[in-house]
């Protein structure tokens, strides 16, 4: 370690092996360390292979092509027990992605609202938000999941006496059923129009900003945004004949058919994770806002910026610089915590991999698959957030 000095050491005429030479010493240390680790690794691998051959379990991922023969409660892709383990795993990964993405969005919105509420000049609101944070973040997330799961499976009425808070919406032990527009080819076109609209809005916005920077002519941001994102899909919808048919759930036999369902498991994991993570995001947002000096606001008001412009052009860019790095780790935490789904039976990737490794005995492969997938998620999220962070970082001299 004291090799920091080696640059200043005078060049030696002949090489003398001596442990007093920092370079030699550090080399010896590193060789010893690597040797130890290789030795331990070899010991573990040897034992594992030995144990596996004794139990006659074949190593490798060949089992992924075999028939899974277990059912998955909910899946974004078509899946039946006749499909392969590989397809089951993909279904699990997609379920994890689904709960993480929706959870991140919900937690960000809720967390931002609560973080801002904690700074409110309204004493009651600030106290209420503070109480939320102090209660929620000090209770284990797994306990919170159990509570939400119990609320829906034990406190909600059975299917036949389902609550009906809104016409067409049914809340029971089996989850929440609500009507969705009936299948119609028009909806696919509307979705396409929405994507086109978002891209168009982005491009127009950039062009408008560049024009404003060059000529000073203001660009109607909100109007063009609304036109592209809402107007375009609406136009397509009307052009497609405006189908109003709804797929309303109705009680038939022992369960509802039709409509869309939010399963109790998905409800519990989504609510639990969003509420838990929101408490942490609230603290991140609060400290971010507090980090911006009040003088910045005063200065921008003195320059004649409106309070909206002050927030958008002066305060927020500086606050985001503080907010984004810890926010990234909260997003990562939420994604990792989605593995708690296993405890309440939501078929996420851990749950599917767990069933797989129990059925096939491929313990090493199962754990490697779980870890590998989460590592990929972690890298993807931190990569994206680092890119975003670089984009919003203030350019200093």
């Amino acid at each position: 370690m004291s090799s920091e000095h080696r640059d200043s050491a005078p060049p030696r005429a002949g090489f003398v092996f001596s442990l007093n030479d920092p370079t030699v010493r550090s080399l010896v240390y590193q060789i010893l360390l690597i040797g130890t680790i290789v030795l331990i690794g070899w010991f573990l691998v040897y034992n594992t292979l030995d144990n596996l051959s004794r139990r006659s379990i074949a190593t490798g991922f060949g089992f992924m092509g075999r028939e899974a023969s277990f059912a998955i409660g909910e899946s974004l892709i078509d899946y039946t027990p006749k499909d392969t383990y590989g397809r089951a795993f993909v279904a699990g990964v997609l379920n994890t992605v689904k709960v993480s993405v929706i959870g991140i969005i919900a937690a960000t919105i809720l967390g931002t609202l609560i973080g801002v509420a904690r700074l409110s000049s309204n004493w009651l609101l600030a106290r209420l938000a503070g109480g939320y944070v102090e209660i929620v973040r000090n209770i284990p997330p797994l306990l919170q999941l159990f509570i939400w799961y119990a609320v829906i499976t034990e406190s909600m009425p059975p299917v036949r006496q389902a609550l009906n808070p809104l016409p067409g919406v049914f809340v029971s032990q089996r989850g929440v059923r609500f009507p969705v527009p009936a299948a119609d080819p028009v909806w696919a076109w509307v979705g396409l129009a929405l994507i086109v609209g978002i891209v168009l809005a982005y491009v127009l916005n950039r062009w408008g900003r560049a024009r404003q920077a060059a000529t000073g002519k203001p660009y109607p941001v909100l109007l063009s945004l609304l036109g592209c994102v809402v107007g375009l899909p609406l136009l397509v919808y009307l052009a497609g004949g405006a189908p109003t048919q709804l797929d309303v759930p109705e009680l038939r036999g022992f369960n509802f058919v039709g409509g869309m369902v939010i399963s109790p498991e998905f409800f519990a994991i989504l609510t639990g994770l969003s509420i838990y993570t929101a408490a942490f995001i609230a603290e991140v947002v609060r400290s971010g806002i507090l980090s911006v000096n009040w003088g910045q606001t005063e200065a921008s008001r003195a320059l004649g910026l409106s309070s909206g412009h002050t927030l958008r052009l002066v305060v927020l860019p500086q606050a985001l610089r503080v907010i984004v790095p810890p926010l990234t780790s909260q997003y990562l935490n939420l994604t990792k915590n989605s593995s708690l789904a296993l405890a309440i039976g939501y078929p996420d990737l851990v749950s599917v991999a767990n069933t797989t490794l129990n059925q096939t005995g491929q313990a090493v492969e199962g754990v490697v698959m779980i870890m590998g997938t989460y590592l990929a998620f972690s890298l993807a999220i931190s990569g994206f957030m680092n890119w975003y962070n670089k984009r919003i970082a203030l350019v200093e001299r």
């Binding site: 004291s2 550090s26 360390l33 680790i37 004493w123 306990l143 990792k336 490794l357």
Partner: protein, 371 residues
């Protein structure tokens, strides 16, 4: 503060009270609750919501609640009140798991020892090397009490351990063992030796990139494969190892933050005095770096304490696990609110006090560093 001002001021005039609109409770209400129209609206909405929620809650919790001795039939007949009889009936099961009934004073004593040690550790007067020995002695007593087999105590297999002692053992021992390991990892991450640095970075990022559950899985299904045939390690120890591996990576990051906060001059001064690497770190850098790292380390401990609840997934009965097991008793089914509220309060109390303590410590340390 105004002592000197009063001395030089002219003889006091008849004191005039400020206008009612700026001081007093009325002004406070006006300034803090009704200062703008939207705040007034919010206040009214919140008061309305609180009035809707709190009275029924108090009703359920206290007023309509059933007595501690109420049989389950009575509780079932009227679900409008909490059934504290369930918690009273299952209290010892939830707190101590399946520990033999007559021996449950032992886990109780373990809880008391842990709380005393943790409480004493909060006092900075005890932050000396000898207190480490007190901890070691305390942990030894804990081990004797839990395992038994000596001093006339009946031996108890660790498969019967459960409840709060298990939660405390997993988190405190996990932390204690992971601590020296994490210091080495943090130092290794800042090492100039490329191989050491690469190994430490890989380890830390790998562990931090995967959920704790996957490590627990590794502990429960892969560890047995790692060991030579015939050698078995029990489930609790495997879970404990997983926790140690997990905690070390997170604590190493907290300590790295402390190491980075030490000015370069300190390193250079230690080098200038001719100290060896370990002397430099042990006598100059680490004492300062660890002091700065204590608040983030306490935060790590809090999340770690909450995470011990995950052992339920590999079939250990910690506080959450034993509460869930208590709920499966057919005659007491369905009283999950009372059970979860009870253990939620225990978890909350531990975490809340630790987080308040870490906030206070952070303030104190910052104050002393500014001088």
């Amino acid at each position: 503060m105004t002592g000197t001002v009063e001395n030089t001021a002219p003889p006091a005039m008849a004191e005039e009270r400020p206008p009612v609109a700026t001081v007093g409770p009325l002004a406070w209400v006006r300034n803090n609750l009704f200062n703008t129209w939207y705040n007034a609206l919010l206040t009214v909405l919140i008061v309305w919501a609180v009035l809707r929620v709190v009275p029924p809650l108090v009703d359920w919790l206290v007023i309509k609640a059933h007595g501690f001795g109420a049989p389950p039939q009575e509780c079932r007949a009227d679900l409008g009140g909490a059934c504290w009889a369930f918690v009273a009936e299952k209290l010892r099961f939830i707190m101590f798991g399946m520990f033999p009934y007559d021996e449950q004073w032992r886990p109780l004593l373990v809880i008391v020892i842990f709380i005393a040690l943790l409480g004493a550790s909060c006092d900075r007067r005890f932050w000396h090397a000898w207190f480490g020995l007190v901890w070691l002695a305390g942990l030894a007593v804990v081990g004797v009490l839990m395992w038994g087999g000596v001093l006339g105590l009946t031996p108890v297999e660790n498969t019967y351990w459960g409840g709060l002692p298990l939660t405390l053992i997993l988190s405190v021992i996990g932390l204690a063992v992971a601590f020296p390991f994490s210091i080495l990892l943090a130092l290794g991450r800042r090492s100039t030796m490329p191989a050491v640095k690469a190994i430490c970075v890989t380890y830390i990022e790998l562990i931090r990139g995967v959920p704790l559950i996957s490590l627990l899985f590794m502990a429960s299904v892969m560890f047995p494969l790692f060991l030579p045939t015939g050698v078995t390690v029990d489930k609790l120890l495997r879970a404990q190892v997983a926790f140690i591996l997990f905690a070390a990576a997170y604590m190493a990051e907290a300590i790295r933050g402390g190491l980075q906060a030490i000015p370069k001059g300190q390193y250079e001064a230690a080098d200038g005095l001719g100290l060896s690497y370990w002397q430099k770190m042990g006598k100059v850098i680490l004492p300062q770096a660890l002091a700065i790292s204590i608040p983030p380390l306490v935060n790590t401990f809090i999340s770690f304490f909450k995470d011990t609840s995950l052992v339920i997934i590999i079939g250990l009965y910690d506080l959450l696990g034993s509460a869930k097991a208590a709920l499966t008793d057919p005659s007491w089914r369905g009283f999950y609110r009372e059970a979860y509220l009870f253990i939620g309060l225990i978890y909350w109390a531990f975490c809340f006090f630790m987080s308040k303590y870490s906030q206070r410590l952070e303030r104190d340390l910052n104050r002393s560093r500014r001088h």
